[in-house]
């Protein structure tokens, strides 16, 4: 596989809960403006791995991380690194849509902006509109920006969460099974959105649905029992996987 300059790169990353390793010694690069899918059977560590990329994993009780994650060459796990500042450079969308219930749609999208310092009213307006357009939600909510997000459908709420995540213009966007709680129509719209997002962001998506991985991603990494078994261009991996375990998973023999 050709080594392209990578925006985000994990090196020998190991993640533990107490004494048990959920992610073992994974080295994986994410080239800029691409979509990388992480697939594997449940419990293989893919969500844990994702949460190491924005230093969310270490917040769980008893959780530790070893290894490095380099964002534009800088190790986010360096001793002097500031986790909060790093999380502003990396956005995350979760499995269950989780808009802030006490904030309006507008304030939800703007939530990540306020932590970066003061902006004028018009600057915020522009950023909110830009994010909502980027999430393909602007036309549906532009007349009710002051409404509660809980009035939106599941698919709309998830797109709102995507808008919230991209509003601060992060470098990388992480998506943790973003469509598993949604119906097929909503799933389709999110998948189309993911393809759009890569124009501006580097995208990493964890999914348990390998067809989805085949549809949306440029690169795919297959995880099994905490190890990264194979990583390749999606088209090549799905037609001619190199590892036996990968082939077994892709052909449905387990998982």
């Amino acid at each position: 596989m050709a080594e392209r300059r990578s925006r985000l790169r994990a090196e020998q990353l190991t993640a533990l809960y107490g004494g048990t390793a959920a992610v073992k010694d994974v080295t994986l690069a994410f080239p800029p403006n691409t979509v990388t899918a992480i697939i594997g059977p449940s419990g293989c560590g893919k969500s844990t791995f994702l949460r190491c990329l924005n230093r969310l994993h270490e917040l769980a009780p008893g959780a530790t991380v070893r290894g490095h994650v380099l964002l534009d060459g800088y190790d986010i796990y360096a001793p002097e690194a500031n986790a909060v500042a790093i999380r502003r450079r990396i956005g995350m969308v979760f499995q269950q849509p989780n808009p802030f219930p006490t904030m309006t749609i507008y304030r939800n999208v703007a939530a990540g902006l306020s932590v970066n310092g003061r902006a004028t009213r018009s600057e915020t307006d522009q950023a909110v509109e830009r994010a909502l357009r980027g999430a393909a939600l602007w036309d549906e909510v532009k007349d009710r920006l002051r409404a509660s997000p809980l009035a939106l459908s599941g698919g709309q709420q998830q797109r709102l969460c995507i808008a919230r995540a991209i509003a601060p213009r992060p470098d990388v966007v992480l998506l943790d099974e973003p469509t598993s709680a949604l119906d097929p129509l909503a799933t389709q719209s999110i998948e189309e959105l993911v393809q759009e997002l890569k124009r501006e962001f580097t995208v990493v998506i964890v999914t348990h649905n390998m067809q989805q991985a085949a549809r949306v991603s440029d690169f795919t990494a297959f995880f099994y029992l905490g190890e990264m078994v194979e990583h390749d261009e999606t088209a090549r991996m799905f037609t001619a996987p190199r590892e036996e375990r990968t082939e077994a998973y892709l052909t449905g023999r387990f998982g």
């Binding site: 969310l56 999380r87 979760f94 802030f100 219930p101 006490t102 932590v115 970066n116 995540a165």
Partner: protein
């Protein structure tokens, strides 16, 4: 000779009926008390009752204006002291309270909620009244605040814990520092429940008498100075009910009706807050 099966069935019906009887018996005093409050208290309710202070001993007329205002002042100051501490401690327990210190605080809060209020009264007497040299509404408010804190702490903790973890994660993932994720997202989401718990606690302390016997003491005159003794409805009821005059007894029922109404208003407000929030989704 009735069969065993019939006997068992009969027992089941009898016991079911017995539990219904229990419910009826339990509600009898409730209706009796409320009924008496309305019937016996209504005759006292006139304009004078609400704007005048008590008449001279033995005379008819007079009112409980000083007691009503006193109740509002002492309860207000007490809530102003007790609610912030209780809410702060509750948020602490919900967000940071899984260690040994948290376990200790939680346990002691539960134990303190069961403390007899008369003991808090003598405690505050020693702590505030004695050094000050005289009784005061402030001492009464402090006693009520001490009673409120453990209650509010536990209800606040319960409400914040109910907020889904994923909201905190979403805030952290956006780069919120820990304190902002807690304050701006978790506490805000739990806020209606926290307010309800606070209102319920206020309703409880509004009816307290024992701790005020040795702190606010009571006052026959209309006073708004918190550094002086002050009257409350609960204290007034006690004085009137245990006094020798028929007129006082009549006024006691009126004051009790007013006090019960205030308590009910706070309770209804608490339920109203929860209900409107659920309607918003």
């Amino acid at each position: 000779m009735i069969s065993l099966m019939t006997r068992r069935r009969l027992l089941s019906r009898v016991m079911t009926g017995a539990t219904v009887l229990c419910a009826v018996l339990a509600l009898l005093p409730l209706f009796a008390i409320f009924g008496d409050l309305v019937v016996r208290g209504a005759s006292s309710l006139n304009w004078d009752f609400f704007v005048k202070t008590p008449a001279a001993a033995g005379d008819t007329g007079g009112g409980v204006a000083n007691a009503i205002v006193g109740t509002l002042i002492i309860v207000g100051v007490g809530a102003g002291l007790g609610l912030p501490v209780g809410i702060g401690a509750g948020v602490y327990l919900a967000e940071y309270g899984n260690g040994r210190f948290g376990v200790l605080v939680r346990f002691l809060a539960d134990v303190l909620t069961g403390t007899p209020s008369v003991i808090v009264g003598v405690f505050v007497w020693m702590l505030v009244v004695r050094p000050m040299g005289h009784f005061s509404a402030l001492a009464g408010a402090i006693a009520l605040a001490i009673l409120m804190v453990p209650m509010v702490t536990r209800t606040t903790e319960e409400m914040v814990r109910l907020v889904p973890h994923s909201l905190r994660e979403a805030a952290l993932a956006l780069g919120f520092p820990r304190w902002r994720a807690t304050a701006q997202v978790m506490v805000r989401a739990a806020w209606p429940g926290i307010v309800t718990g606070g209102l319920v606690a206020v309703a409880r302390i509004a009816g307290e008498t024992a701790p005020l016997l040795f702190t606010a003491l009571g006052n026959l005159n209309f006073r708004t100075n918190v550094l002086q003794p002050m009257q409350t409805l609960s204290l007034q009821i006690y004085v009137f009910a245990t006094g020798p005059f028929e007129e006082w007894h009549r006024l006691a029922w009126g004051a009790a009706l007013v006090l019960m109404s205030i308590v009910l208003v706070f309770g209804l407000l608490a339920r109203f807050v929860t209900r409107t929030r659920f309607r918003d989704g």
